[in-house]
């Protein structure tokens, strides 16, 4: 596997500008002749499909949802970063770049991150022009807030519904192109495999989720914007349909998978309330701007919050990290919460949470201001828990939330399979080992609106154009494989439901490859996963038929892929014998209990090559160099 990051030459601030000039252009008259498949129409895919359509390419877009407006991006609450410096508080492209590299714990590519920071400016302009109703100040200009570990106010937001409003902007741009005939939209179409012909990505195989029809679709280039894989943990804040299928299938067809063990656990979610829960709900971390996190200082203290006097509370983040306090980065805030709960300080009926308390904020700002800032989040919390956060502190606990790992891509967002591009959360992205809050929306939109449409054009301009139809033997072979897999799933008729196996996988992953990992646990997981996978293929029960709307079959396919992927994730966590960002190896801690990186041996992206199900994959490395942000131990004290 060749890993050439293709980073353009020149000073970091000029790389993207120069590269844009150096890239080849497709003659406008020819654009329509090129067909581009975009899988996934969330922020990344929706923006890319709309923009490619606008540029004149012949775009076919696919989503398993009934409409592009349902993509998981819709659920993002807190906001989107941009280095606009509208607040005049010292922000700049360079500062956003710097913060992102450092926040990612030095496991991302400097050149990509700088480009992301540059493009952050254009994203806000674009969204506002589309009518995205960002929060504004009384003078009518855009408002900002500071978010998750940033010391400047660079986060743009639309109440607690930023993702919704940005997605609707992209969705509307996409629908406009659909109406114009430049984009053909395939809703309720799930990609189940990738078609590679002569070493290039040439198409995909999909299943129509109502008719069950399996079809091959051919193109000159394929883009995957299919989101993240947090649902490998079963319980996560991701929407129920989020999956690893398209990325995993691409991986099995030759695309390197980078840093699968880099997952982010979000510190502020509502703790699990019972056995039968299917997903966890995130409370935007913007709440940490005004809420104070604490636990009872004495382990095992079961008194209600109101009866615990000030002196017997431990505001542990403020205590350990005096300068960042409640705004410490996600990985740190999560880990510290776990430590508190593990040490017996947990609160709530299942003793599985910590308090997030707004009493001081309400006293300082008044209930109206607090309600203006967080009203909808408070309502959501009250609906779920039956408790009123204006009166009793919220209960929160970390939960799997975001995946920094993903398909390896070069500077052009192209995977190791020529003609296959990956954008948004699906790629291994710009966030290194830890993503900063409000940076995923930014990355998805930078990839979708501004990067991929140009780099895919550059690829098309140079690629040999050989029209190919779905009857091509290579395409039909993949169609048959997909049909066989389905028939197999439906034929087992065992005694276990898909969910019960998914839940069991989730538990293995949470226990051994979750917030804290160690070699022993990971080795154990590597024994348990193949056993569970075997149990699945021998004993799962998938009711119904292949030729109808069959939600159990859809789930079964996704869980089958998670069961393979999970193993690679554990291999990655085991071989990355250091702690960094969200990857916390218990064997590697500093005296203060922080993650201890090993830059000498691990300043690289680990890129996995598939060898076969159950076979150990091959680990490749893309070395990372840091010329601008000096390698340093993160310190948020």
């Amino acid at each position: 596997m060749q890993l050439d990051a293709k980073i353009p030459s020149g000073p970091i601030a000029e790389k993207w500008t120069r590269h844009q000039f150096d890239m080849k252009l497709v003659n406008p008259a020819n654009k329509r002749k090129y067909k581009v498949i975009v899988v996934g129409t969330g922020l990344a895919g929706g923006a890319a499909a709309a923009t490619m359509g606008e540029l004149g390419y012949n775009v076919e877009a696919f989503t398993f949802h009934d409409s592009p407006r349902r993509a998981h991006s819709i659920a993002a609450q807190g906001g989107i970063n941009a280095a606009k410096n509208y607040q005049g508080d010292g922000d700049s492209v360079y500062r956003l770049f710097y913060d992102t590299v450092k926040g990612g714990d030095f496991r991302s590519r400097e050149a990509n991150v700088h480009r992301l920071a540059e493009l952050s400016l254009n994203i806000i302009d674009q969204a506002v022009a589309q009518g995205v109703p960002f929060a504004r100040e009384y003078g009518g200009l855009l408002a900002n807030r500071s978010f998750g570990g940033a010391q400047v106010s660079r986060t743009f937001y639309a109440r607690g519904q930023t993702g919704q409003q940005l997605l609707l902007g992209a969705y509307q741009a996409l629908e406009r192109q659909i109406a114009a005939g430049t984009v053909t939209m395939h809703n309720r179409a799930e990609m189940l495999d990738l078609i590679v012909v002569d070493g290039r990505a040439r198409g995909i195989v999909t299943r129509h989720m109502v008719t069950g029809k399996i079809e091959a679709h051919m193109a000159d280039a394929v883009m995957l914007g299919t989101g993240g894989y947090s649902n490998v943990f079963f319980l996560s804040t991701n929407a129920m349909g989020c999956n690893v299928t398209s990325a995993w299938r691409a991986h099995k067809r030759g695309a390197g998978f980078a840093n699968p063990c880099f997952t982010q656990i979000h510190p502020t979610c509502i703790p699990q309330s019972g056995e039968y829960q299917s997903k966890l709900t995130l409370m935007s971390e913007s709440l940490r701007n005004d809420g104070r996190i604490w636990v009872p200082a004495k382990a095992g203290d079961t008194r209600p919050a109101a009866q615990i006097p000030e002196a017997e509370r431990d505001y542990y983040l403020e205590r350990i990290y005096p300068s960042f306090g409640n705004l410490s980065p996600r990985d740190i805030a999560s880990r510290r919460a776990k430590e508190m709960v593990d040490a017996g300080h947990g609160i709530g009926p299942m003793r599985n949470g910590v308090f997030l308390d707004f009493a001081d904020a309400i006293e300082r700002l008044g209930r109206d201001v607090v309600s203006e800032r967080y009203g909808n989040l408070f309502e959501m919390y009250a609906k779920i828990t039956g408790e009123n956060p204006y009166e009793v502190p919220m209960r929160i606990y970390p939960a799997p939330h975001y995946t920094m790992g993903g398909l390896w891509v070069d500077y052009n967002l192209e995977t190791t399979v020529p003609g296959l591009f990956s954008i948004g959360e699906a790629n291994f992205s710009d966030h290194g080992a830890n993503r900063l809050g409000a940076s995923a929306l930014m990355q998805g939109l930078a990839d979708g609106y501004f990067i991929a449409p140009l780099t895919v054009g550059n690829y098309l301009a140079a690629a040999p154009r050989e029209p190919m139809d779905a009857e091509h033997p290579a395409a039909q072979a993949v169609v048959r494989e997909v049909e066989e897999t389905q028939a197999r799933l439906l034929g087992i008729q065992g005694s276990r439901t898909v969910d019960s196996i998914h839940m069991e996988l989730g538990r293995i992953m949470w226990d051994h490859c979750g917030m804290a990992r160690n070699a022993e646990g990971l080795r154990k997981a590597l024994e348990e996963i193949p056993r569970l996978r075997q149990e699945f293929w021998e004993n799962v029960r998938v009711p119904g038929s292949a030729a109808t709307l069959n939600q159990s079959l859809e789930k079964a396919g996704r869980v089958a892929d998670f069961l393979e992927f999970a193993e690679t994730m554990c291999h990655d966590a085991l071989t990355r014998d250091e702690s960094c960002g969200g990857h916390f190896r218990e064997e590697h801690v500093t005296e203060d209990g922080e993650a201890r990186r090993d830059d000498e041996n691990f300043a690289h992206a680990a890129v996995w090559e598939f060898r076969g199900v159950g076979e150990a994959p091959i680990r490749h490395q893309e070395p990372l160099t840091f010329d601008h942000v000096p390698l340093s131990q993160r310190s948020y004290k």
Binding site: A129, Q172, M240
Partner: protein, 251 residues
Amino acid sequence: MDLTLHVWRQETSSASGSFQTYKAAGVSDSMSFLDMLDLVNERITRDGGDPIAFEHDCREGICGSCGMVINGIAHGPHKMTTACQLHMRSFSDGDEIWIEPWRAKAFPVLKDLVVERAAFDRIIQAGGYISVRTGSAPDANAIAVPKPDADLAFDAAACIGCGACVAACPNASAMLFTAAKAAHLSYVPQGQTERLGRAAAMVMTHDEEGFGNCTNHGACQEVCPKGISVNYISRLNRDLLKATLTGISVG
């Protein structure tokens, strides 16, 4: 608690459907309505049956996927609450619950509780956007937007496209949905140029899709989980009138 469910089962669009009865035993207060359905589906599956199909994804009241009529009310008994955000503490032991899909000509049933809402996308295609090419936007702060307008735009933009308004309307009209998008774009300066044409085009497509006329019943606003106001329908109608008077046609 133990409940009795009467659920609409229908195999395909063309099949005829009927209510089937299921026991939901051992349901806890803290479960969401959809967790409860998951539980029932697990049992149906283990017993060799075909689980109840229902649409859902975010389970946070924001994606608009879920939607079902619960005891005669779209999204169930709680105001401003989607089916996925409804929790079982709203029910009591021994309750009987009737669960049906949205019913509207423009929303054909695909299976059980799943309906096809692609007509909403086509209404957006007709004009529910601002025509701006990627990369051609001026600086975001070049145009100030008065905060009250921005807030109104946001209130209208909060629509999640769930379709409850259609399900609740005696005419199966989608005017609340249509008006919410038109209003959102009409409150921001960027949306002015296309405003009247947008209104005319969106309403024309609304009618062509087979949604009924709005007769100011107000049932839509009652069930809307995002509190979208019927006032937006008046605003849309005013724009529509202006479009007609100024001779703006839909081409």
